[in-house]
């Protein structure tokens, strides 16, 4: 449904995308995951015909994003990262406006937005600028869907949204997916990766890996331990000095470490830390999460 090949984009000296390729299948919920400045927005703006790539090509529903942009715009629903509806028009006026410029009406595609729009319909007379953050987002999604697009592209829809609304939002996306809409969504939150069918991890304009969330973590080769002690700061320093330890990163109250070889045992490491006067030491082998994989891939890429 969406296919990008070797896309490059620079803004002056800054390289935003360095040869990005990806493939999104029809009906898929695809996540584009990476930190701020990774190139997510640039890639998305290229796919929705708002930006021309310097090199490479991309098609959405077999339509080229540069040559067939006119036809393509009717088939894509795009929700930019920043709220971009008219704050001085009411909820209903915004909806009617975007329906009309796409040559349709709210009634015609009401079934698509019903679930979402019903939640904000009681406030349809209210100006969009006076809605709460969560409602603004629902309105933006409704407006992006009102012309019954085949593909829905969302740029960081959950950034700055509270946990409950985030969960709700992903449930809405799942329902839209069931209606047959292909969805490409970008997010800086690693934990949202598990909600996608497949994810692409992107960093510094490069795609690190593309796979299902399960596979991404399974393919992780290194052994991962969670370590903690009373003095975390010294613990990081001492662990980094240990020749068998490859990486140390802080993850909440634990440190996640990967090992250079599998010969060290947890007890040996505990002894090593005890010798350096650490107390309350806990070492548990754990299953890697997306974030661990991301850190690992980033390290590999940098080397």
């Amino acid at each position: 449904m969406i296919s990008a090949e070797n896309i490059e984009k620079s803004y002056g000296e800054v390289k935003a995308l360095r040869g990005v390729s990806l493939e999104v299948k029809e009906g898929e919920l695809f996540g584009l995951i990476g930190p701020d400045g990774a190139g997510k927005t640039s890639l998305i703006r290229i796919l929705v015909t708002l930006l021309k790539p310097d090199k490479g090509s991309a098609t959405v529903n077999q339509l080229d994003v540069v040559d067939d942009f006119r036809k393509l715009r009717k088939q894509i629903g795009y929700m930019p990262g920043r709220f971009s509806l008219y704050p001085d028009l009411s909820v209903e006026e915004n909806m009617t406006f975007f329906a009309t410029v796409f040559g349709t009406t709210i009634e015609e595609n009401y079934h698509l937005v019903k679930d979402i729009y019903q939640q904000i319909e009681p406030f349809k007379e209210r100006l969009a600028g006076r809605l709460s953050g969560g409602m603004k987002q629902k309105l933006a999604l409704s407006c992006a869907l009102i012309h019954a697009p085949k593909v829905l592209v969302l740029d960081e829809p959950t950034t700055g949204v509270d946990a409950v609304s985030r969960k709700e939002f992903w449930e809405m996306l799942k329902r839209l997916q069931k209606m047959g809409i292909t969805i490409l969504v970008s997010t800086p939150y690693m934990d949202e990766a598990n909600l996608c069918d497949r994810v692409a991890l992107i960093q510094d304009g490069n795609i690190l890996t593309i796979n299902t969330p399960e596979r991404v973590t399974q393919n992780h080769e290194s052994i991962l331990w969670a370590v903690r002690s009373d003095n975390m700061y010294l613990c990081i320093r001492d662990l980094r000095k240990h020749p068998g330890v490859k990486t140390v990163f802080g993850f909440g109250e634990f440190l996640h470490i990967t090992l250079r070889d599998n010969t060290i045992s947890p007890t040996a490491l505990e002894k090593y830390l005890k010798e350096r006067c650490h107390t309350n030491i806990a070492i548990n082998p754990i299953e890697p999460g997306i974030e661990d994989v991301f850190m690992d891939l980033m390290q590999k890429h940098d080397n």
């Binding site: 009717k74 894509i76 795009y78 971009s84 975007f98 009309t100």
Partner: protein, 372 residues
């Protein structure tokens, strides 16, 4: 067409909802017309005259009386002391000093000639020239009068051989506000139309709605036209409002046809709104739009012929003025309002402004990119 109609509907809803627009739309015409037209005048009124009369004779008193009766002059004081005169000119208390030397009457009677001295404050060259020529006419008048009364009217030497009688056409009583009011109207419609349209467009960029609009199938010309038409309508509304004020406050005559005036104004607005939108399309913020439009507007106004006649500019400036839409409009509105010129009298201006409008609109559409 349906999309354009809907875009227009959206713009009007937004404009009507924006409460801060109303003062601009209705207060600006009142303030500009009432204050500017009255205040910005080149008419010379009540120039202060400081008379140094060292003769103190009948002849000198007659001259002073003549000055007293002239509406353009106001005598601040009459002394025989020359020392203070320079001081009076320097601190601006007198616009002109008239020196009547000692033995003025004696010389006049005995030698049939005498001298006077005029010192005029020429900081403002135009005012100085006017003062000079008014003063001169008073003295010439005085001269003729004393010749007639002292020598008697001679058969062979009548005091005045040729009399020039003046008739001013199109503004017979030389009322300055009739000249200024149409000019201020042009500034008014330009200011309202150009700024409102330009700021409105760039606001879509600032609040991010442009990003959403650009993925819709709205055509570029539709978007630009939808940004132009509402403000063209508002500018024409302000023109009507301004004309009404001119009629009621200044009793300005209206010789031409309203249809011709509105037709020309619409074509003119196409150009200045097009320029405003072009500036907006290539800018990112309202600040940039304001700065660049202000620059253009200032040059346009100062070169439009509002205050100083375009004919007295250097040739290169007159040539350059053909790029100034306000130059055409200034000419058109004064001719239509005061002279009653019709469409065919102004067809060159019409074609120039139409060309300007089409060029600006096309440039704005072309420079507007939906894809970066």
């Amino acid at each position: 067409m349906k999309i354009l109609r809907y875009l227009l509907q959206k713009e009007f809803i937004q404009i009507l909802r924006n409460k801060s627009m109303w003062p601009i739309i209705f207060l600006m015409p009142i303030i500009q017309m009432v204050i500017l037209v009255n205040a910005a005048t080149l008419e010379l009124k009540k120039s202060d005259v400081y008379v140094v009369d060292q003769d103190m004779s009948d002849a000198s008193r007659q001259l002073v009386d003549k000055l007293k009766g002239n509406p353009f002059f106001q005598i601040t004081s009459i002394t025989d002391n020359d020392h203070l005169a320079d001081q009076q000119l320097l601190n601006g208390k007198a616009g002109v000093v008239l020196d009547i030397p000692e033995n003025f009457e004696k010389h006049l009677k005995r030698n049939n000639q005498a001298s006077l001295q005029l010192r005029v404050d020429a900081i403002n060259g135009l005012a100085a020239e006017l003062t000079w020529s008014y003063m001169n006419s008073v003295i010439v008048d005085y001269n003729n009068q004393i010749r007639a009364s002292w020598m008697g009217v001679s058969k062979f030497d009548p005091p005045q051989k040729i009399e020039v009688s003046q008739r001013y056409w199109y503004n017979p009583s030389l009322i300055y506000s009739f000249f200024m009011a149409p000019g201020v109207l042009v500034i008014l419609v330009t200011l309202v139309g150009m700024f409102l349209a330009a700021v409105n467009l760039v606001r879509e960029k600032e609040i991010g709605t442009m990003e959403q609009l650009n993925v819709t199938p709205i055509k570029k010309y539709q978007f630009i036209a939808a940004k132009m038409i509402p403000f063209l309508a508002i500018a024409l509304l302000d023109l009507s409002f301004g004309l009404l004020i001119a009629k009621m406050v200044f009793n300005m005559p209206f010789e031409g046809s309203l249809l011709v005036l509105y037709g020309f104004t619409t074509v003119f607005l196409l150009g200045v709104l097009g320029l405003g939108l072009l500036i907006s399309v290539v800018s990112e913020t309202q600040q940039q739009v304001f700065f660049v439009s202000y620059f253009f507007l200032l040059v346009f106004i100062l070169m439009s012929g509002l205050f100083t006649p375009v004919e007295s500019m250097p040739t290169w400036a007159q040539w350059l003025d053909h790029l100034n839409p306000m130059y055409y409009m200034m000419k058109v509105i004064r001719n239509v309002v005061l002279k009653g010129s019709g469409f065919f009298d102004l067809k060159y201006e019409f074609l120039s402004m139409l060309g300007y409008g089409v060029a600006m609109f096309s440039l704005a559409v072309m420079r507007y990119r939906k894809t970066a």
